[in-house]
Symmetry: C2
């Protein structure tokens, strides 16, 4: 059983139907780069299946998020999606200036998470956690050195 078929099994197990649209959106996201924008997913899906509707893409991505197949990241006001890799869970730091996204190891949020649960009984949704700010490259006084644990990648689509 390939890893793609394992993903399909997740859908089947939860009682969701395997429609051509879902198979194609899943393949597009699985084979695409990190953080695909919805319009990007839509264009690629449509080229494989011309009847694809944008609303279906939105609904499908929302479903995939619910069952944990993909992770949603809000980058510069727009929703982006990436395949969930359980062995490489990470959060995001999104730069308000360049719209670049940096991965952040869950380790850095563990203590914060414990504090919220213990002090307030509040269980935060860290799976969809992203924090905006200004990255080291976009800071005027930036002097360069960055520690380990961060992995940058810049969007190659236009984000206004």
């Amino acid at each position: 059983m390939t890893s793609y078929e394992q993903l399909l099994q997740v859908l089947r197990d939860e009682g969701h139907r395997l429609t051509p649209q879902r198979l194609i959106v899943l393949r597009v996201v699985a084979e695409g780069r990190q953080h695909m924008g919805v319009d990007e997913v839509f264009r690629e899906a449509q080229s494989a299946y011309p009847f694809m509707d944008l609303a279906t893409v939105y609904r499908t991505l929302r479903l995939f998020k619910q069952v944990g197949l993909v992770t949603e990241v809000a980058i510069g006001d727009r929703l982006h999606y990436e395949l969930t890799h359980p062995e490489d869970r990470h959060h995001h730091m999104v730069c308000r200036v360049c719209h670049g996204a940096f991965n952040l190891s869950p380790h850095y949020l563990e203590e914060f998470n414990r504090t919220l649960v213990n002090e307030f009984g509040f269980v935060p949704d860290l799976d969809h956690f992203a924090i905006t700010g200004v990255c080291v490259n976009c800071r005027p006084e930036s002097s360069g050195e960055v520690g380990i644990g961060s992995e940058e990648f810049t969007l190659n689509e236009d984000v206004p």
Copy 2:
């Protein structure tokens, strides 16, 4: 000079014009409860100034946010605004189930903030920080006790 006039002075000092629309929106937010939704601000402003336009409310709130008069909080996908009280800065924990918002003292984020800056050179926007999750009242296994530092208030408008 009243505190309301001090707020106006902030606008004047930055070269913004004092239009009737801005005065009214400021008064509505200053006298309203915490976390007012945009539509709520709009309705109240319109009842004081019938020509008020929704786009003006959005632009005005955005301006007020830029100059620091108000703080923007995203609650359940919608933008909410509250007057900024410099002596009572706080972040928000927003419950995904009941849409209630809990204040969170900046103290709990200080270490996280330091870590991001020191390790990654990333300066997070903590002023607009809100984290979603499930609050103690909405957790099935909730056993009740909550520590100090949290102050709850529930929305009295409908959030779907």
